[in-house]
Symmetry: C2
Subunit: 347 residues, 2 copies
DNA sequence: CTGAAAGCGCTTACAG
DNA sequence: CTGAAAGCGCTTACAG
């Protein structure tokens, strides 16, 4: 039906007015006064013709594309990423912004990253979101500096751009507190062996809350391993077979917790009767389907995506005064998701 | 640094030539002859100024935006979706196309879908990819008809637009054949209870390969349930506790297989010694981390994304002659991923 | 081999 | 309250 593109001129002709007037009524230009009758005629003509303004032409004229770019490392292939996209997209839509997503490989070269940024800049995006697949410290492509930007789940080594990350310390405190509240005092920690912010933050939270409760920190209760089920299994087996084993385990993530479940089963330990476990990440498919369901701490992916867009919008509009100094990353809470893997210690 | 936008005029000025010439050398216009010296000067000036053409201005002029839209239902939140995006994006990049992703809610209204299509059309995308979160039959928004489009993991009820789906029948044949090859003859099938193409196709494949092998179809061996771990567990418990239970289970998906593993464990059955299991989907986190690893059939998500973009590019370029009649959906193979859950039946 | 000029579809001072 | 005209940054016949 709309074989040939219908433009603002067609609407003007149909309504018997000038294109100027059509533009004013369709955009509801605040200072432009138009008669009710004219407005009606224009709107009717536009609807009848199925007119939609050519956004590229608009952008060219207004210097605002209404698009923001989301540059992400492997985001499309990592399980949590979807919620970042969702949070960003729903928020973007609320601001009438279209999200353009570019997925780069995890270990892409600097020049690839620069090319991705250039692609976005050439497309005149109004701002850029830069997301990593897990909480990391990164250096940004130099050509990003000309465009408003915010980092998601990452902090800028140079401390120049706004960023939002999960509250690793607080999340760990929450998780361990749940164990303490249930009465546990010997709490093992299966930590990640990578030197990333989450590793350090979760250890810090673990220690802080133990301190606050007056429980002596016991180094032998903390094991580091690759944060996957197989390694979590091995580490759990080791710690649970030791003398004076812990009555509860705080796992760096749900994947390691998955391994810990298997270790417990092999050792004849029933969860949570003989062993309480708390995870981190709230990775749906794991936490919901382990038996019993895994109590864990959720990462605020959706919220980070939403926050990032809100902040980007402020940057674009030049309301930076409202924003905090960008070198302090914004930290979002990690709430506890209670299922059935925690009980009081035996006896 | 690049405070004010550098345009083609700046390059022309710096190189001491006209904008026409700059355009020709930068775009390598085939019929335009330029001296080697001019080309060098232009390229140097462009690089020195960090010039990148304004894609919106280009598009406005050329009527080709170089963008294709990916409209998806919940794609960002479903575990497999990432691979569709990845396949589509890598292929798009190879064709110098930018992918614009719009995520719509699963049960969005028709008007929301229309609005999403309009958003893409207003942005002048050259074509649209429409993806669903699992193999489905759908009706397309009417306003899609003006734009080249291809469906991913979905077929058009009206049979008008090109589409690509997994070979459900073939995948099921492959899965069941693996069980037959191991020597099983009593093979249970835990099917999905939803009336979707995968349910029908996988049942068909199961029957076909049984027939081909001369194994009598036994209705009591086929159970239908919600395709989740809990229901898979219940169904497996039921079928394995019956008289003359099957020696192997073909599960509609890995999630149900996950439940079947638990049922087997409770029944004291060791996999694969006492019971062989084959799944469908190759959902990484499940299939890899179940013990023993789950042999399953992979869905060609990446390939569907890639195929869809290739086909869309042909449609855009008007090479439809190459394409098959669009009312036959293209079907892509589902290969077996062998792990450790299949062995010969006991005794 | 090179350049002047029209025009893609809009918005926006500006004039009336 | 309404409209003629300039111009956003490019590409592309066309002329030379």
């Amino acid at each position: 039906m709309e074989q040939k593109h219908v433009g603002i001129r067609d609407v003007a002709k149909a309504a018997g007015v000038s294109v100027t007037t059509v533009s004013h009524v369709l955009n509801e230009t605040p200072y432009a006064r138009t008669s009710a009758d004219t407005r009606r005629k224009v709107k009717e003509a536009a609807k009848a013709l199925g007119y939609g303004p050519n956004r590229m032409a608009q952008s060219l004229r207004t210097k605002r594309s209404g698009m923001i770019g989301l540059l992400s490392e492997e985001i499309a292939t990592t399980p949590h990423a979807g919620r970042i996209i969702l949070g960003a997209q729903e928020t973007a839509r609320r601001h009438d912004l279209t999200l353009v997503i570019i997925n780069s490989e995890r270990d892409a070269s600097d020049s690839t990253h620069r090319a991705d940024v250039d692609a976005l800049v050439d497309r005149q995006v109004d701002g850029i979101l830069y997301a990593t697949m897990y909480h990391r410290e990164i250096s940004l492509p130099a050509n990003l500096s000309g465009t408003p930007a915010v980092l998601i789940d990452a902090v800028d080594r140079a401390g120049l751009v706004a960023s939002v990350v999960p509250d690793e310390v607080g999340g760990a405190r929450t998780a361990v507190q749940a164990l303490l509240d249930a009465g546990h005092r010997r709490i093992g920690f299966l930590n990640n062996s990578d030197d990333v912010p989450a590793t350090r933050g979760r250890l810090q939270g673990y220690r802080e809350v133990l301190d606050a409760t007056g429980v002596q920190f016991d180094e032998s209760l903390v094991l580091s391993a690759v944060s996957e089920p197989a390694e979590g299994y091995a580490a759990a087996l080791r710690i649970l077979s030791a003398d004076n084993p812990p009555t509860a385990l705080f796992c760096y993530n749900d994947r390691m917790a998955m391994g810990a479940y298997r270790a417990a089963a092999e050792l004849g330990l029933t969860i949570p009767r003989d062993l309480s476990i708390v995870g981190f990440d709230n990775q749906q498919i794991i936490a919901e389907n382990l038996h019993p369901g895994l109590t864990t701490v959720a990462l605020p992916h959706y919220e980070m995506g939403a926050w990032a867009v809100e902040t980007l919008v402020e940057l674009i509009q030049g309301h930076e005064e409202h924003a905090l100094p960008t070198h302090y990353p914004t930290v979002l809470p990690c709430p506890l998701v209670t299922r059935e893997s925690i009980a009081a210690p035996r006896g």
